[in-house]
């Protein structure tokens, strides 16, 4: 069974389509690779909420004992095993990012389930944060990244649904960041800390910088909806996504540390890949495509995408 629109077929051989598609593939790959590292090598931040009596009571229903749940020290407890399994699912999704084909519904379904896992991780982080709404919203790019890839493969990268989903992902990611950065929710201390370490500014200057960055985040959220602003908004979002993702290793790594600290910080950049690859996708899409808006409807005109003829 193939899931493929006529539009998708037409685009299949288009190199720009390939570029757009690989933006999503690469972003999705690094996102899941980063989370895989965060589960298999480290323990994810939300793990503490799994260690609850409610969890234990659930597992008791499946016949697990206290000792099996907690582990003996010589072996991993049940929650740790679950975390490892989630990590391997992330590995599988990372691989699927490159292997998934538009005509393989199994792989596409598995990729879609990757979004469910990302949603579960996002919800866990949201709970762990004390139910701070921006923590949930800012995961939007990571949650939607697998679905976005599935859409691109199945209905086409240029399908309106695909691009709207990408826009929503950018709006959620930058909206969430913006809510924190401007201080509508308490700005995470790490935002200020990274700014101070990377740039070397004092606290007040760093806070002001974050305030400006937060305002720009909100501008991006609106800018991606406005035709004459969308390309520049997407370009800024891509650059800022790279900067914020890179801030973690830049602030934390050091020559003195084991592996220079790469094992602590690089994966935090990796799983933020959708924060810049999705904006890159939109930027390239809008660059390749000239869009004209008419009153009440969207009309899509495409540039001539055919390769120059080599016939003599």
């Amino acid at each position: 069974m193939t899931i493929q629109s006529d539009q998708a077929k037409a685009e299949a051989s288009n190199w720009q389509t390939q570029v757009l598609e690989y933006c999503l593939r690469i972003g999705n790959f690094f996102c899941f690779a980063g989370w895989a590292w965060g589960h298999l090598y480290w323990e994810p931040s939300y793990a503490s909420i799994l260690w609850s009596e409610a969890s234990f009571e659930w597992f008791q229903q499946f016949g697990y004992s206290w000792e099996e749940f907690t582990g003996t020290g010589a072996n991993d407890g049940l929650i740790q095993k679950c975390i490892q399994w989630i990590g391997w699912i992330c590995v599988a999704n990372a691989v699927l990012s490159f292997t998934a084909r538009r005509n393989s519904w199994i792989q596409l379904c598995l990729l879609t389930s990757g979004s469910l896992f990302m949603l579960a991780i996002a919800v866990a982080k949201y709970i762990r944060s004390g139910f701070e709404l921006p923590m949930l919203i800012e995961q939007g790019g990571q949650i939607l990244s697998p679905i976005l890839l599935v859409m691109a493969l199945s209905i086409g990268v240029r399908n309106r649904i695909t691009t709207m989903t990408a826009i929503i992902a950018v709006m959620m990611t930058f909206g969430g960041h913006g809510l924190y950065a401007v201080g509508l929710w308490p700005t995470p201390a790490t935002f200020v800390g990274m700014t101070r370490v990377v740039i070397g500014w004092d606290y007040d200057s760093s806070k002001l910088f974050l305030l400006v960055a937060g305002v720009l985040d909100f501008i991006v959220c609106f800018g991606v909806l406005i035709p004459f602003l969308r390309r520049s908004s997407a370009l800024y979002a891509m650059i800022w996504g790279i900067v914020t993702a890179a801030a973690r290793p830049v602030a934390g790594m050091s020559w003195e540390l084991n592996y220079w600290g790469a094992d602590q910080f690089l994966h935090e950049s990796a799983y933020r890949a959708p924060h810049f690859f999705i904006p890159l996708f939109l930027y390239l899409y809008w660059t390749y495509t000239k869009v004209q808006h008419s009153f009440g409807s969207l009309t899509l005109e495409t540039k001539d995408m055919t390769l120059p003829s080599t016939a003599k």
């Binding site: 480290w42 931040s45 907690t70 201390a189």
Partner: protein, 598 residues
């Protein structure tokens, strides 16, 4: 089966969000108060005839004066003794009054403007009392998910009943990582009635400064989730505000030079009732483990593999107390002016004192949040403290324990008492897989000689392990409580008591946690079994200060104020010592060739 588990896990996570478990944010709104109530509470200490008192105010209005006044009642009249500027960031008003008459009890009142008054009692220094009672607390959680803001009235009532001389809050007075000021006001409203009338020592720990764990690394900025890279996650200004609120009333710092981010230090000593308390900051200089130690578990600060090599994590250069505090302890243990006994107060104990962590968590072989790591730093700290026979009182572990620590052999160093949490959010258990050696008769298998997760020699005497599924999911029933330490300067005995919540501890049928009470001697804090003893020395005056110095290394073995006018020194065998004595300091050599025999 596994697919069902996965599905259940996802549903559980989402259900937690949708249904919740009444997990509201803690209500830490700052109440609008009448101007006459603008002073929330006050804390004080008196040391070396210097009064330091910090009044904590609610936010002042723009048109209100930023001046607070301190008055005492002299011969029936209120007399102003100090004024101070209110510091807007955190709304604290720190007073310092030198040449304080600590031989008398004084009624005091803090005033702001025309209306606001806060009254209390500054006690006289109880140098004539034989027994000094210290009440110890830690872990003041009010998280809604675990019962929330449960009344502390039982604690207040008990403290009043026993008339504790000193209050010691070992850390985590505040659990909100972003709203310290509001939570600190809440703390003051809860405990102000006992704080205002007795010296109070407060030590900010990790949660107080807004992070789950703290390895301060002299004020570095932390950027790693969990802060295992060392440093402070919150900005320096936030940390400064926390420390101003909680520690500005402590005696002047022994070494006031600031650390990174302009963060102050507050380690010092307080001499009260002839007990010399060393107030330590065991997080401030501590090295962060991330990237420094080989990875041993799913977190950079956790070790899950029991087969790992403890030596591998005792990395060179890793700091615990730091040079400044060790230098302070070196002089503190030799200074016995007005002191008969010594007690060290810090955030947590010097060993890995728990095996199982979390609400229903996994076995954790070692946690570098404990001060069992770094091992070399731990040994230096304990070695410094035992030279003054210092008893160690601390908290943070959410598990009450009594340990006798060892450096070169079991039981050759100090005793520690980790008090239980006021409200137990994060449970821990002391549950070694093997039974302890050399246990006392009829004692549980978890007691006795062990190696903690870092290979440190520890001997456990008691642990208030919670039930695996604690009765009631509310904070004050999960092995919560508080500790009482009775320091008898006449008998030189130290009695540890560990009480649960919601009991009248003066009642005949009140029960402590199993393993308590326990009484030890001051000398038990440095009495290795391998040592011998010397002849008895007689002195012309009572309670001389005696010091032994190793002739070979020129190092002080220990210094102590003798219990009587005679003293029988204990010392390592096959070494020669110089003994010095003096009335208040060991300034006279009485022998240069003292040797111990078995």
């Amino acid at each position: 089966m596994r697919n069902r588990i996965f599905a259940s896990l996802i549903i559980l996570l989402i259900a937690n969000t949708v249904v919740g478990q009444n997990r509201r944010r803690v209500d830490l709104s700052i109440p609008e108060v009448d101007r006459k109530d603008v002073i929330c509470f006050a804390l004080y200490t008196v040391h070396d005839q210097t009064l330091k008192l910090t009044a904590q105010l609610y936010p002042l209005k723009n048109d209100e004066a930023r001046l607070a006044r301190l008055e005492i009642k002299k011969e029936g009249n209120w007399v102003e003794v100090a004024q101070t500027e209110v510091i807007e960031q955190g709304w604290t008003a720190p007073f310092r009054v030198a040449k304080w008459d600590d031989a008398n009890t004084w009624q005091y009142r803090v005033r702001h403007g025309e209306q606001a008054v806060y009254e209390g009692t500054i006690r006289r220094n109880p140098t004539d009392k034989d027994e000094i009672v210290v009440a110890g607390f830690t872990g003041n959680s009010i998280m809604p998910a675990h019962g929330g803001d449960i009344s502390r009235q039982d604690i207040l009532d008990n403290i009043q009943r026993i008339n504790a001389d000193i209050l010691f809050f070992a850390g985590d007075q505040v659990y909100d990582h972003k709203r310290h000021y509001a939570a600190w006001l809440k703390f003051g409203r809860d405990f102000g009635d006992i704080i205002k009338d007795r010296p109070t020592i407060c030590l900010p720990d990790d949660h107080d400064v807004g992070q789950p764990n703290l390895w301060g690394e002299s004020g570095k900025i932390s950027t790693l989730r969990g802060a295992a890279d060392g440093g402070y996650a919150q900005p320096g200004l936030y940390v400064q505000e926390v420390e101003r609120a909680q520690t500005s009333h402590l005696p002047d710092p022994a070494d006031p030079h600031k650390i990174g981010q302009d963060i102050s230090v507050y380690f010092t000593n307080l001499n009260w009732g002839n007990i010399d308390f060393a107030i330590l900051e065991d997080r401030k200089f501590k090295t962060g483990p991330a990237g420094r130690v080989p990875k041993q578990g799913p977190r950079p600060d956790h070790i899950r593999n029991p087969e790992y090599d403890p030596v591998s994590v005792d990395v060179e250069g890793a700091i615990l107390l730091g040079k400044r505090q060790l230098a302070f302890l070196k002089s503190w243990t030799q200074d016995w002016q007005n002191a008969k006994m010594k007690v060290a107060l810090s955030q947590t104990i010097f060993c890995g004192g728990a095996h199982i962590h979390g609400s229903a968590s996994g076995r954790l072989h070692a946690d570098m949040d404990s001060n069992g790591w770094p091992q070399s730093g731990r040994n230096r700290a304990i070695d410094a403290l035992r030279k003054g026979f210092a008893f160690h009182l601390a908290g943070d572990q959410h598990l009450a324990t009594i340990f006798h620590h060892g450096v070169n052999e079991h039981r050759d160093a100090i005793w520690s008492f980790c008090v239980p949490s006021i409200a137990n959010l994060y449970l821990r258990w002391w549950a070694p897989l093997e039974a302890g050696a050399n246990r006392e008769d009829n004692m549980p298998e978890y007691t006795g000689d062990h190696l903690d997760g870092f290979g440190n020699k520890v001997t456990n005497y008691a642990a208030a392990n919670p039930e695996k599924k604690p009765a009631g999911n509310i904070l004050n029933t999960r092995s919560a409580g508080f500790g009482i330490v009775r320091l008898n300067t006449k008998t030189r005995e130290i009695t540890m008591e560990c009480w649960p919540r919601n009991v009248d501890i003066t009642s005949d049928d009140a029960q402590q946690y199993p393993g308590w009470p326990r009484t030890i001697s001051q000398l038990d804090n440095y009495h290795p079994r391998s040592w011998g003893k010397m002849k008895e020395f007689q002195f012309d005056y009572a309670h001389p200060v005696v010091q032994l110095v190793d002739n070979e290394t020129d190092e002080v073995l220990y210094t102590i104020r003798a219990h009587n006018s005679f003293f029988t020194p204990h010392a390592p065998l096959n070494r020669e010592f110089t003994i010095k004595v003096g009335k208040d300091s060991p300034d006279r050599v009485i022998t240069t060739s003292a040797k111990a025999k078995k």
